[in-house]
């Protein structure tokens, strides 16, 4: 195997490792909220540091691969996609941290209402994240396309969560309840953003495989 191919494999493996950490962060942060388990926060914050370091290492590796090898064709598309995926994964880690912080405060109090649509959002988004990473690992553009189709479902669920929370907010008579409603809104927004990042990664996979840019179809 050529040295360049060894380096490219290493880049892919690093991204997959980072994706594994991000998936674990998302799982821990959402468990913290749904299972009301504050210990999960430790996992989130511990992995965040590792993800941040990986982001820098992967970016540096991509720059060196471009500068030293002048890649073209599929190699160039892989590296440019890897740089964007790297950035999306790091932001997904940040969203997991945001969810964890809000959940940590929320679970100190009793539940406002049983969570129904938020766990549904979490399930859809976790599947999106898993599928986009698998699509990246296996160059599966069909799987990546299926992720794009799920983004609307997440957006609709978020809108439903917001509608329910607005009603709670109107009914609320104290600042503390309003603050908890606002925190849940932030959490719903973060989960939706996780779906957006999974969508971005899927678009990158399609570009990587076919050289076709499917971002912003309406522009």
């Amino acid at each position: 195997m050529r040295h360049f191919d060894v380096e490219m494999n290493d880049l892919q493996n690093r991204l997959l490792d980072m994706a594994g950490l991000v998936q674990a962060m998302i799982k821990a942060a959402t468990q913290e909220l749904v299972a009301r388990d504050p210990k999960q926060a430790d996992t989130v914050f511990c992995f965040e540091k590792k993800v941040n370091i990986q982001e820098i290492v992967i970016d540096d590796k991509c720059l060196k691969l471009i500068a030293l090898n002048q890649p073209v064709g599929a190699d160039l598309r892989f590296i440019t996609s890897a740089m964007r995926i790297n950035s999306d994964l790091e932001r997904m880690g940040d969203e997991a941290v945001n969810i964890s912080r809000k959940a940590f405060d929320l679970i100190k109090h009793s539940e406002l209402n049983p969570l129904v649509d938020i766990p549904k959002m979490i399930e859809v988004v976790q599947n999106m994240v898993m599928d986009c990473i698998r699509a990246f690992n296996t160059n599966d553009s069909e799987l990546a396309l299926s992720v794009l189709a799920k983004d609307d479902e997440v957006n609709n669920l978020k809108n439903r969560v917001f509608d329910d929370l607005k009603i709670l907010m109107v009914k609320a008579s104290d600042m503390e309840t309003i603050q908890r409603v606002v925190d849940l809104m932030f959490i719903a927004k973060s989960i939706e953003r996780l779906g957006d990042h999974a969508t971005n990664i899927s678009e990158d996979v399609i570009f990587m495989v076919h050289g076709k840019d499917v971002r912003h179809p309406r522009t």
């Binding site: 002048q70 073209v72 064709g73 599929a74 160039l76 076919h210 050289g211």
Partner: protein, 251 residues
């Protein structure tokens, strides 16, 4: 509009089928690069465009190469006129062992394009200016061309081609004997010349093809595998053979 239109073109060296049914339309006033592994036929195709291959014993062709609508392989084609209109620059600079001035004036005199000294002087100056040599060597025109650096010798060879007013310039690995700085300067020159001339270039340097050409042809084993815009060839080629070659996985 295509300046060079190659239709069902085949070339044989005796029994060896060197170019296999080539079809390609090369647009005017652009740089077109030809890439491919050694022996793929890219230089043979380039040399077919001004019929230099005619001089090789056993070489014979079928099909057409049309330049501005005229098939250059028609029996009535005047090959001298063709080679004046379609100039060629080779891998290694090959100035004649005469003065810089005489090198540029050579084609004008041999082809009897000009005999008046002032016209020749003017053409020499214009040609040397076109290749950005004039300012540096205007006081050394009577010195031997062989005293110039390799880069300047190659510029001089391009000036010699330009002097006889061609409309196509063929370049066969024009920078392969130059260092990176000289290479970059010749590339800049080619970019300037493309506004006036149709340029077809064979290169083994894929970064060079990517940097300066508008279209790129990829050849393999005597066949034209893919001909596309350069940016497509180097970002998302259609054919697997092209992808494998440009990414360095074979060749």
């Amino acid at each position: 509009m295509s300046k060079i239109s190659v239709k069902n073109f085949n070339l044989y060296y005796t029994n060896f089928h060197a170019l296999k049914n080539i079809n390609i339309n090369i647009k005017e006033k652009r740089i077109t690069a030809m890439i491919g592994p050694s022996g793929c036929g890219k230089s043979t195709l380039l040399r077919s465009i001004n019929r230099i291959n005619d001089t090789i014993e056993g070489a014979h062709t079928s099909g057409e190469i049309n330049i501005s609508g005229k098939n250059i392989y028609d029996t009535e084609m005047d090959v001298d006129v063709l080679r004046r209109n379609v100039g060629m620059v080779f891998q290694r600079p090959n100035p004649f062992p005469i003065s810089i001035y005489e090198n540029v004036a050579f084609g004008l005199k041999v082809n009897r394009i000009a005999s008046n000294k002032s016209v020749i002087d003017e053409t020499v100056e214009k040609s040397l200016k076109a290749v950005l040599l004039w300012d540096d060597i205007k006081d050394k025109l009577r010195k031997s061309a062989l005293d110039l650096t390799l880069e300047r010798q190659q510029r001089l060879c391009i000036a010699r081609v330009i002097a006889v007013a061609p409309y196509i310039i063929l370049l066969d690995e024009p920078c392969s004997s130059l260092d990176p700085v000289a290479t970059r300067r010749i590339e800049e020159l080619m970019i300037q010349l493309k506004d006036e001339y149709t340029i077809v270039m064979v290169t083994h340097n894929m970064q060079q093809a990517a940097r300066i050409s508008y279209d790129t042809a990829f050849m393999l084993l005597g066949e034209l595998i893919e001909f596309e815009k350069t940016e497509k060839i180097f970002t998302n080629p259609s054919r697997k053979e092209t992808e494998d070659y440009v990414t360095g996985r074979f060749g």
